[in-house]
Subunit: 309 residues, 2 copies
């Protein structure tokens, strides 16, 4: 069927995918955006977004998702819900296999499947996400002025963000399951020298407690001792995982974390395939740069398509 | 004086600089944003911005500039007006020389000086910019549904955008000063095969006419013949020029067009110096990706500063 082939397929409808959809629709490209769940991606997990430029008062993640989706739809975005289980990018056309055993083909593909914070999978974590449980200090630190927060983790991100949080919070307790940090020495030295940061070693967090918001943590030392810690917020910074289960990782030359490397114009190792947003191999994962990459990816796709014979 | 040194200076207050300012201020970094003219940069030249994600109905360039500036100021952006004439990036601290013969130093610098379309410098061009004279078909093509527009230029951008414009406009007249195009063959073939595109060769445009909006063009053939062409819009696509007169181009390894190459994290060839927005060496110059790069650049600066001893 003719309708099963598109010049461009965009996979995922977070900020990168919705921006790509906006650009593709507005340019009247023959396109399809495929989303597995709700439009918005990770911003739906964020209670309040204060750093998407152009909204001086901030707005809820839900509102921004809705605005981005409405924006793309105003230009006749062609979208569907569907679950892509696997794909064959080794030849042309590119081929996507869906859960309902249908397949779609396309000349170019923009992968915007995103990522998700590695969760601890403990009681209270999911229920209080966006209500004191956060996975992004850059996003949420300013909400914790003069409060006591915990950071869970021991890598570069956890230690750097613990220092960052002391610009706002009165006290930051870093909880790490080992007796030393993995972060680089200079970050460690700064954290150790910071009087606002306390450390709890050899300890895992077994639950987040609270009803309307975070009230505390339940802790377990490796010697078996249990304790509780009162905090108003907790930043779980134990890594980010790519949503890559449907991607041919070897062909796309995924990095050791499973993220997809691209060039400056978001082109992957496979001709005609771009990647934008958090699935990209990169250091900074913010809504605004995901959106920017979505735009770049569509123009890269246009350039690719226009040069096809 | 202590106040003459900053950990981070951001140069330029277009979308990239204002986003960098927002991120730097919100992270409570010791920062200064320097702007030569009005906050907003090139978006101030754009009457209506329809493709900045999150504003489904679009908004004026002026409004977006104002919102972005207000956003950064809400987090206590530290900014000043000033004209940087030159800089010394060969040692540390980095040093900027201002027009008023003051100097500022910094540990890290984000260059967001932007670019500007190469103008034709003909009567009517400046007066009607944003009122039918456009320098960006990606931005403005959808405003010309069922109308007759001209494209001036003969390179890849001009020819590709002429094709793109036929998705909206009834008729596109491409005016080129030579008798053949510089664009790649495949773009030329597509344009020649497109019944909506007409070509006027060996001709320069000497004036844009109209009062409230563009009404037509005055043309001059190289044989001396003068003529007029009625159009509702004209896209001047004869190149983009970097705002780089204050930059040490050799040290920054500027490309042949004078733009600044960076890596994926916006780092230039000089340690501690980032570049974001249209001054970067890249293919896609849009508001949304300029903003995204501004955010990336601040986090790159933070990473650089935190690793300074």
């Amino acid at each position: 069927m003719a309708s099963d082939h598109y010049k461009l397929i965009i996979l995922g409808a977070g900020p990168a995918g919705l921006t790509a959809g906006l650009y593709a629709a507005r340019a009247r490209m023959d396109h399809l955006l495929i989303e597995k769940g709700a439009e918005g991606g990770q911003i739906l997990l964020t209670d309040w977004i204060d750093n998407y430029p152009g909204f001086p008062e901030g707005l809820s993640g839900f509102d921004l998702a809705e605005k981005m989706a409405a924006h793309a739809k105003r230009f006749d975005l062609n979208s569907m819900f569907g679950n892509v289980l696997s794909m064959d990018l080794s030849g042309k056309p590119l081929r996507l296999e869906l859960e309902d055993s249908n397949a779609l083909t396309c000349d170019s593909l923009i992968i915007c499947t995103g990522a998700h914070p590695r969760p601890l999978n403990i009681p209270g974590e999911k229920e209080l996400t966006g209500k004191g449980v956060s996975y992004c200090a850059t996003c949420d630190a300013p909400f914790y002025r003069n409060q006591h927060v915990a950071v869970i983790g021991g890598g570069n991100t956890a230690v750097q963000e613990a220092s960052h949080l002391t610009k706002f919070a009165d006290k930051v307790t870093l909880i790490h399951r080992r007796d030393e940090l993995r972060a680089t020495k200079i970050l460690q030295e700064k954290a150790f020298a910071n009087p606002k940061i306390e450390f709890i070693w050899d300890t895992t967090t077994t639950a987040v407690t609270g009803t309307e918001g975070v009230e505390g943590l339940e802790l377990l030392n490796k010697n078996g001792d249990k304790s509780t810690l009162q905090v108003e917020g907790v930043f779980i910074l134990v890594g980010v995982l790519p949503n890559n289960e449907m991607l041919p990782l070897e062909l796309l030359k995924a990095d050791s974390g499973g993220f997809i490397p691209t060039d400056l114009e978001t082109r992957t190792a496979v001709e005609g395939v771009m990647a934008a947003g958090d699935i990209r191999s990169k250091e900074v994962r913010q809504v605004i740069n995901a959106a920017g990459e979505g735009a770049t990816a569509v123009l890269a796709a246009e350039n690719y398509l226009v040069n096809l014979s």
